[in-house]
C-alpha cells in the first residue's frame, strides 16, 4: 500500500473509524512510548440559519495515500516518533461525523504534539481532498483558507 515504516498506518476509507481500536494498535506497538497525541477532525454545522446538513469529501485516489505517506516520512525526519496513524474518510458525511484521525506516539510529549500539529497543518494544504457542503440552500465547494496556508508554511520558514 504505502512505503511508510512498519509502525505507521495510512488509510483512506468511507467507513467510520474507532479511536479505541486505533489506540489499541498503538498500545501493541508501545515499547518506549511515554506520550500519545490524538487529533480528530469532525463535520461542523457552521451556521444556525442555514446549517450544513452533510459534507461530501472527494479525493484523488491514486495520489491521496502517496501524499499522506510523504507527510508521515517528513514527520519522521523531524522528530523521533514511535508510531503514526492517519485515517481520512471520504464520501458523504453527516454533521458530527468524524472526518480525520491523526495519532502520534513518542517517548516524550513534545515530539508527539509537534508531529500531530505538523501532520494536520500539512494534510490540510498538501493532500488531495476537497470538501463540498450540502445545506438547505444548496451545495457549494469549500474555499481554501489562507490561514491554513500560513499554518503549513510556518513549518518551512526556518
Amino acid at each position: 500500500m504505502t512505503d511508510v515504516v512498519e509502525h505507521d498506518l495510512v488509510q483512506v476509507q468511507q467507513e467510520d473509524f474507532s479511536l479505541a481500536e486505533h489506540y489499541a494498535r498503538l498500545e501493541q506497538l508501545a515499547g518506549n512510548t511515554g506520550a500519545v497525541v490524538f487529533f480528530i477532525g469532525k463535520v461542523r454545522a457552521e451556521s444556525e440559519v442555514d446549517p450544513v446538513q452533510a459534507l461530501e469529501l472527494e479525493h484523488y485516489p491514486a495520489m491521496t495515500e502517496k501524499s499522506l505517506s510523504r507527510l508521515v516520512a517528513e514527520a519522521r525526519e523531524r522528530w523521533s516518533l514511535d508510531a503514526i496513524t492517519i485515517v481520512h474518510r471520504v464520501g458523504k458525511l453527516a454533521v458530527g461525523a468524524q472526518i480525520v484521525l491523526v495519532a502520534v506516539s513518542s517517548r516524550h510529549r513534545d515530539e508527539a504534539f509537534l508531529a500531530a500539529r505538523f501532520l494536520m497543518d500539512n494534510l490540510k494544504t498538501r493532500a488531495p481532498f476537497w470538501k463540498k457542503e450540502h445545506r438547505a440552500s444548496g451545495a457549494r465547494w469549500v474555499a481554501a483558507r489562507e490561514q491554513d496556508d500560513v499554518a503549513a508554511a510556518q513549518w518551512f520558514s526556518q
Binding site: Y60, A62, M63, M120, T125, A127, P128, W130, W141, A144
Partner: protein, 82 residues
Amino acid sequence: MITVLFFAQLREQLACEEATLAAGSVAVAADLVPALIAANPQWAEVLQSRPWLLSVNQAMAKPVTTINDGDEVALFPPVTGG
C-alpha cells in the same frame, strides 16, 4: 499520450473527469492549460478563471516540472481536506 484528470469544482465546471493530450503538445507543467484550451476552446473561461494546482504522476508540480509521454497529470483547486 498524456492523461489529464480534473477534480472537485473544476471537474463540475468542465463537466469532464478526464481528457487526453498528444504527447508532443506539452513539455512542462506551465504548458498544460494553454494546450488544453487549444484542444478544447470551450474550456478557456473556466481554465483561466483562477490559478489551478497541478500534479504530475501524483506529486505536486511546479510550472517547470517536466511532462513526458505516458504521464498522468491532474488539475484541481486548492485542497480542503482535514
